[in-house]
């Protein structure tokens, strides 16, 4: 793979000489997208585990497993981006607590453990069963995962249920932390007007929830189609309600933040308005807002209003979910790349230099996005999360 030393960006107006090399690229767009999907998928699962919404039983374990697969790949865009990934643990050994980024090692580490644990408890009865039934290496594998204990007595299961509940409860603020800190990472900076906002953590968190919910919807529909299983309408409808509500809230938040920025009109607003009215028309107004948020809201509103059922409902919800996924990706892109395209001088604009075959290029970012789903394909064979599989137990 070609690895140029660096790519410099063309610009108009005046930018500081060091700004012509973009510090963060598409990998840093993908990273919050992945953690957002994790947080959102976990939220769907928690709605079942903690809030007891039984309609979500078909997707609860699947969402949990999806969250784990995504979480495993969450550090990869960061490791690809770092100048010295071999020193990455410096931030864990000597975390500088004033830095939001130091939080990453601990939040992410905590969350990996939490997701591993949660999935372990959820799939433990299945693992025990497989350890007892299978012979040879696969049997030994499941046995190892069970930590050598085949105890599925009522006492053990009640312990498990308590753990699952506790983990799910802890996981909710954990998800807020895991993804909220990313928003704070951007919002707390004084150097870029485009990022500097108190609302950033909230916007990031809620767009995370909608992306995760949308992902679970899409994956659920796809998995049902592949497995030729009937899609549970109340399950998908409940997820759609969740999506609908949170998308509206997220849209309000995003527009409020943007409107606030324009209204306040601080120094540098001319450059920002030039940027918004030219470069941002398609990525922001058309894709992120129009296609990605308003269209799903309208679609879902119409579907709910007319009490649509059956195939139309499922198609409408799935299409809305796909659009939401696109919208959230565009949001990350517009925040990260857009922010860097507006120069710190407030008097210039740069153009992001796209790279394809580079350690931080589009191909690498796409691979990082696809990899968790490839892992998921493998994981669903080892730990089938379906409602009708032996893995689904009384919890």
């Amino acid at each position: 793979m070609m690895d140029p030393q660096f790519l410099s960006a063309p610009f108009t107006g005046y930018v500081y000489p060091n700004e012509t090399v973009f510090p963060w690229g598409v990998l840093i767009v993908v990273y919050p997208y992945l953690t957002g999907l994790v947080a959102g998928a976990f939220t769907v699962s928690s709605l079942y585990q903690v809030f007891g919404l039984k309609a979500l039983k078909p997707v609860a374990h699947f969402a949990m497993l999806t969250a784990l697969c995504l979480m495993i790949f969450v550090p990869s865009p960061l490791l690809l981006h770092l100048g010295h990934p071999e020193r990455a643990l410096n931030a864990v050994f000597t975390p500088h607590w004033s830095s939001a980024m130091a939080m990453f090692g601990y939040f992410a580490g905590f969350y990996v453990i939490l997701l591993v644990l949660e999935n372990w408890f959820v799939f433990r009865p299945y693992m025990v069963q497989q350890a007892q039934q299978r012979k040879g290496w696969s049997g030994k594998f499941y046995n190892l995962l069970c930590l050598g204990s085949h105890d599925v007595s009522e006492k053990a299961m009640s312990y498990d249920r308590k753990w699952i509940f506790a983990l799910a409860v802890i996981g909710i603020p954990g998800a807020c932390g895991l993804h909220g800190y990313v928003g704070f990472l951007f919002g707390s900076l004084k150097s870029r007007e485009w990022w500097s906002s108190d609302m950033m953590p909230i916007i990031f968190l809620f767009s995370a929830i909608i992306s995760g919910t949308a992902l679970v919807i899409v994956l659920y529909v796809v998995s049902c189609l592949i497995r030729k299983v009937r899609i549970a309408e109340d399950c998908i409808k409940l997820m759609a309600y969740t999506l609908w509500g949170f998308v509206m809230f997220t849209l309000v938040m995003e527009l409020a933040e943007f409107g606030n920025l324009v209204y306040k009109g601080r120094e540098g607003i001319d450059t920002i308005m030039e940027f918004v009215s030219t470069r941002l028309i398609i990525p922001f107004f058309v894709l992120q807002i129009g296609v990605g948020a308003v269209t799903p809201i309208i679609t879902l509103t119409v579907l709910f209003w007319r009490r649509t059922t059956g195939r139309f409902l499922i198609v409408g919800i799935t299409v809305s979910a796909v659009l939401v996924l696109l919208s959230v990706l565009m949001m990350r892109f517009n925040v990260v790349i857009g922010g860097e395209e507006i120069a710190k001088t407030g008097k210039g604009l740069l153009t992001f230099p796209w790279e394809i075959l580079h350690r931080e290029g589009v191909l690498a970012a796409a691979s990082v996005l696809i990899a968790p789903f490839l892992l998921l394909l493998v994981m669903i064979r080892i730990f089938p999360p379906w409602e009708d599989s032996p893995a689904a137990e009384s919890h």
Binding site: F6, P23, H84, R87
Partner: protein
């Protein structure tokens, strides 16, 4: 049946005992590890800490360094930019600078000021290469109402945003006021590059860590001036210890109305400017 139960109980008792013993051992081992891991810090805290790093002939206490820029004197010769690159091994291209010079020109009839730096493609084209710098004679065919040069560099802020956001502690502020980077510890996340409001930091593509002006710490601790101050032919750059009331920087700050860049950030920069204008950020 009862015997079996007793036997089971006995076996259970042994298992219980063993598992409890295992837990105790594990707990003890952890405590020991924790003690070992944390103790050196404790010991260091208890024992007398060294007060200053062992730099030969230099004590970092009792200094309050600051930098002055007299933009009324700067002639835009860019010797400072080239000297800094030579002294500090900065990449010889037009995208990585520890210090730079900006030119502001108010052209007659235009209300927007024209700004360029030596990194502007027009100026790079006027020089021999990307590693040599000169300002092109861009305005010879227009009428210029007012124009001047402004040198820029890291402000070594009192409340540096870059230090605040560094996740590892690789960039820090020394006791004598220099904000520097530990190049063996930086992981290259570039958060500090984002956080600096002045654009003073950059990512070194060779060493793959971030880099910035250090006010030539390696020179100042030997009693020398920073390289840019050393070569400036017109005295537009001033450096010294504010604790020394007779130093040129103390005189500069005392005798002039000085300004700083972007005071609204709250970073409290330590580069003091004379002769900048409303458009200078």
């Amino acid at each position: 049946m009862d015997e079996k139960k007793d036997l089971d109980k006995g076996q259970c008792g042994r298992r219980d005992f063993l598992s409890r013993l295992g837990c105790a051992v594990a707990g003890g081992a952890t405590a020991l590890a924790a003690g070992v891991a944390l103790a050196p810090e404790g010991q260091a805290a208890v024992a007398a800490k060294p007060n200053a790093p062992k730099i030969p002939g230099y004590d970092w206490g009792n200094h309050h360094y600051a930098f002055g820029v007299d933009a009324t004197k700067c002639i835009g010769c860019l010797r400072c930019v080239e000297a800094c690159k030579t002294e500090n091994e900065v990449a010889g291209d037009a995208h990585h600078f520890r210090t730079w010079v900006e030119r502001y020109a108010h052209v007659e009839g235009e209300d927007k000021v024209r700004i360029d730096s030596q990194a502007d493609p027009v100026n790079i084209a006027a020089s021999d290469s990307e590693g040599q710098y000169r300002f092109a004679n861009r305005y010879k065919d227009v009428k210029v109402d007012k124009a001047f040069f402004v040198p820029k560099l890291c402000n070594h802020c009192t409340h540096p945003a870059c230090v605040q956001v560094c996740p590892t502690g690789a960039t820090y502020k020394t006791k004598d006021g220099f904000v520097v980077i530990d190049h063996t510890y930086c992981i290259g996340c570039q958060y500090c590059v984002q956080a600096c409001p002045y654009g003073a930091r950059f990512f070194n593509p060779v060493t793959r860590v971030t880099d910035k002006c250090t006010w030539c710490y390696h020179r100042v601790t030997k009693g020398l001036q920073p390289a840019c101050v050393e070569v400036c032919p017109v005295g537009a750059r001033i450096f010294g210890d504010l604790n020394d009331k007779q130093s040129s920087i103390s005189q500069f700050v005392a005798n002039n109305r000085v300004a700083v860049l972007k005071p609204e950030t709250g970073n409290a920069p330590n580069v003091f400017y004379v002769g900048i204008d409303k458009d200078v950020e």
